[in-house]
């Protein structure tokens, strides 16, 4: 039996307060495709980005407004960055890393601490896979940065930016590999092996 949980599947026969689940008649059921860990947590395998205040994100300028910018961060509505919170003057299409300052009840977003990212590639990764790309205490992303010599920003929203300095092609292929294999254990070792074998060629 697979340990992949599907929506509506019972994950506990007692009411538990856990993410990606709901309680009905004293039992807990999953709401999304996920993995169930031994300490009763659900790790989602797919799904849209759920913005939270404090998240580090990567996005690009999609509109210039009177007093700020609209930033596309793959949410249904674009996020707003006031020009007061940004030292640089941005142009349409500029890629930037920023932090979410505020999420309100209708999911309008405000950003702060914006930093322009120049000369690089924007890569789309499933938002559910970003925690694996970053790793525990940035372990995974540090391995990739070290082995490829690239600067990498992985936003919680599912955009990653890879600088064009260093072996950016290998870095992007590594990100794709992590995205495809994020749910299979032993990921760090496989990524290290992949980077080592690619380095020899």
């Amino acid at each position: 039996m697979s340990n992949i949980i599907v929506p509506g599947q019972m994950v506990a026969d007692k009411p538990l307060k856990m993410g990606y689940a709901y309680v009905e008649n004293g039992k807990t059921y999953a709401t999304v495709m996920s993995l169930l860990t031994d300490d009763h947590k659900l790790i989602p395998l797919c799904g849209p980005y759920e913005p939270l205040a404090g998240d580090g994100i990567v996005g690009f300028v999609s509109e210039i407004k009177f007093s700020g910018y609209s930033i596309n961060i793959r949410t249904p509505a674009a996020a707003y960055l006031s020009s007061r919170d940004c030292r640089d003057k941005l142009a349409l299409g500029d890629v930037l890393a920023a932090t979410i300052r505020l999420v309100d009840e209708v999911k309008s977003l405000e950003l702060e601490d914006a930093k322009i990212l120049r000369d690089g590639t924007l890569v789309q990764i499933g938002p559910a896979k970003i925690p694996r790309v970053i790793g525990k205490k940035n372990s995974m992303i540090n391995i990739i940065k070290e082995k490829t010599g690239c600067e990498i920003y992985a936003g919680r929203n599912g955009y990653a930016w890879v600088s064009s300095q260093g072996n950016s092609d290998l870095a992007i292929r590594t990100l794709r590999k992590i995205e495809h294999e994020a749910h299979i254990s032993g990921l760090t070792n496989r990524v290290s092996d992949f980077l080592a074998s690619a380095g020899k060629q």
Binding site: I4, V6, P7, G8, T31, M33, G47, P76
Partner: protein, 244 residues
Amino acid sequence: MEKPQLIIDGKRLDGREMEDLRPVKITAHVLNDANGSAYVEWGKNKILAGVYGPRECIPRHDQSLIRAVVRARYNMAPFCSLEEHGRSGPSRRSVELSKVISEVFENVIISEAYPKTQIQIFIEVLQSDGGTRCAAVTAAAVALADAGIPMRDLVCAVAVGKADGQLVLDCSKEEDNYGESDMPVAIAPRNGEILLFQMDGLLTRDEIDTGLTMVQRAAEKISAMQAAALQQVYERKTAPKLEM
């Protein structure tokens, strides 16, 4: 055309018993650019479902400040059958089915998490042979789960009909056209909640009760196939090529 005999020597036209499903094949995650997708072959029915969203709700007067709007679009391809609904574009029939399928999923999607957005479900019937709305609901549920949209349950649907005076599960096109009755039902298999209930023709109260228990039993089989299709996505790594 004259009505053919639908049950011969206790077997149906395609050799099934009264409570057999047609062969069902479900594949999840078949479209690369949709948020979620599924392809279902249910007997001779071939159905492709794609899910996009949650994304900005347009036109804006349709959006809700407290929940996501669920919109399904059921469409029959112009080449899907030999008969009159083979014309392209929206028809009375496809507008009705789009509405009832939207309502099925409005009741299971936890849409309060995505205010001011819409979740779009596109269902394309590539080949039809009776029971497409049930196959469409089954495909759309898999596509929604593949998109990672939070749902209370994985919905599935199947029809019960009456042919030559006997209740038959999962009517084929002949049984639908020449039988006495056809009753498509969508249920949430976890608690047996009925989400769609339509009926053409007539059934007695007892027949409806028996029919619904047949649907509940079949739903267990279908939802096991849906779950297996979804789990298989994470056992293979890339999207499969469609074989149609």
